[in-house]
Amino acid sequence: MKSIPVSTTINGDPCEFLCAPDETLLDALRGRLGLTGAKEGCGTGDCGACSVTLNGRLVCSCLVLGAEAEGAEIATIEGMADGDELHPLQRHFIDHAALQCGICTPGILVAAKALLEKDPNPTDEDVRYWLAGNLCRCTGYDKIIRAVQAAAAEMRGA
């Protein structure tokens, strides 16, 4: 198969890569660019572990072809912290022990950040529906919801 050159912006930096026509964005991020924060859980869009934003829209990177990313702006978990300074969501996930094995965590953080950019003051129900496509087999979700709400409160300056 002929490789396709793709020119994108990832976490604010221009980025070019080659990918196979049937290669997912997730595989390109992980295998070609060394951005291994996004995880492959199911590979079929059910678990959300591969969540990234594509032109500001939350998507499963396993359901996007690498070739489709031409000209797109992508944001991954690797761009979430500001250098050594964790994003409030990351800090509150640690403080609330909102993770155990950690496989789902990058996807949940990316998804939660997208929610708070759209709605800085969601209800618990809003958070649960928004994160319905992010599966976690460790926490039982309650700590995740609390951590998101604590981060949202801090980000609102409450």
Binding site: G43, T44, G45, L63, V64, L65, A111, L115, G133
Partner: protein
């Protein structure tokens, strides 16, 4: 496999009709990439339609809206005009998948995937929506109702691609609604579903009604007799009972782990009743 990002509907149609092997059209990809991953299909050519100018836009047209084939359902749900005019269509489209899937999936894709349980389809059929197709011989219009042909199959001809769906204008006193049953609250496929679209006359009774069921037959089903049962009424209990009975009679569902024939049949009638009441209230009707 070759990947082509078509720059025009014509280019997409010509590439699809020229390819002798297996083809797939890529809009949101939420079904196509799952098929690739699972090995259900190994396409020789994938045609990405998202780079076609205008195909990801929602444009007002003749009192209704033309929804581009690549408009993600999340974008549809953020469009105040479409939500106000066709709330039932939008609520069906917005039930599909997760937030992540909503960011990519499209109504045209849901239609072309050919599942009888597609949540966007009953609402579109109830709305008398019209698909615009580009094909090897040019452009044609086709009622959405005529596109599903059976599980995983459509009436689209080789080389044809849906480029947009027109949600038509409707009178002021009109409303629609969509309900589905799933065993949980999110992230599942309809076991049975119902869409109802109503128009009220000046006296507040139902002047026109269209009732469509999903997941209870090889394709979505337009239940003419259920719609007819509502005409001239204010949806009193006897009318709703006739509606439910007509819906049950139209069911021809599969029996599987997700729902028995009896359960799907009964549920379709219940959902149609409830959807009719919601559509009636949205149309401004009062009992």
């Amino acid at each position: 496999m070759r990947y082509l990002a078509a720059r025009s509907a014509r280019e997409a149609a010509e590439a699809l009709s020229a390819e002798t092997g297996v083809t797939r059209i890529l809009a949101g990809g939420t079904d196509v990439l799952v098929q690739l991953k699972s090995g259900i299909v190994e396409p020789d050519l994938i045609v990405d339609i998202k780079r076609i100018p205008g195909i990801a836009e929602i444009v007002p047209e003749a009192g209704g809206f033309r929804i581009g084939a690549a408009v993600p359902n999340a974008v549809l749900g953020e469009h105040a005009g479409v939500v106000a005019l066709w709330p039932g269509v939008v609520e069906g489209a917005n039930l599909i998948g997760s937030t992540q899937v909503q960011g990519r999936c499209t109504m045209a894709g849901n239609l072309c995937n050919g599942s009888p349980a597609g949540d966007a389809v009953p609402g579109l059929v109830a709305a008398n929506a019209i698909a615009r197709l580009e094909g090897p011989t040019g452009t044609r219009e086709c009622p959405v109702a005529e596109i599903p042909a059976g599980p995983g199959r459509t009436t689209l001809k080789k080389g044809e691609v849906i480029t947009s769906i027109l949600l038509p204008a409707r009178p002021e006193r009109a409303g629609d609604a969509y309900l589905r049953f799933i065993p949980r609250t999110e992230m599942d496929i309809a076991v049975a579903s119902a869409a109802v679209s109503l128009e009220l006359g000046t006296d507040g009774t139902v002047a026109a009604a269209r009732v469509v069921l999903g997941a209870v037959a090889p394709t979505v089903v337009v239940v003419e007799s259920a719609g007819a049962a509502l005409i001239g009424s204010r949806l009193d209990d006897a009318v709703l009972a006739r509606l439910a009975a007509a819906c049950e009679a139209a069911c021809n569902p599969i029996d599987d782990k997700r729902g028995t024939v009896a359960f799907r049949t009964r549920t379709a009638g219940v959902l149609a009743r409830r959807a009719a009441l919601i559509a009636y209230a949205r149309a401004g009707g009062s009992k």
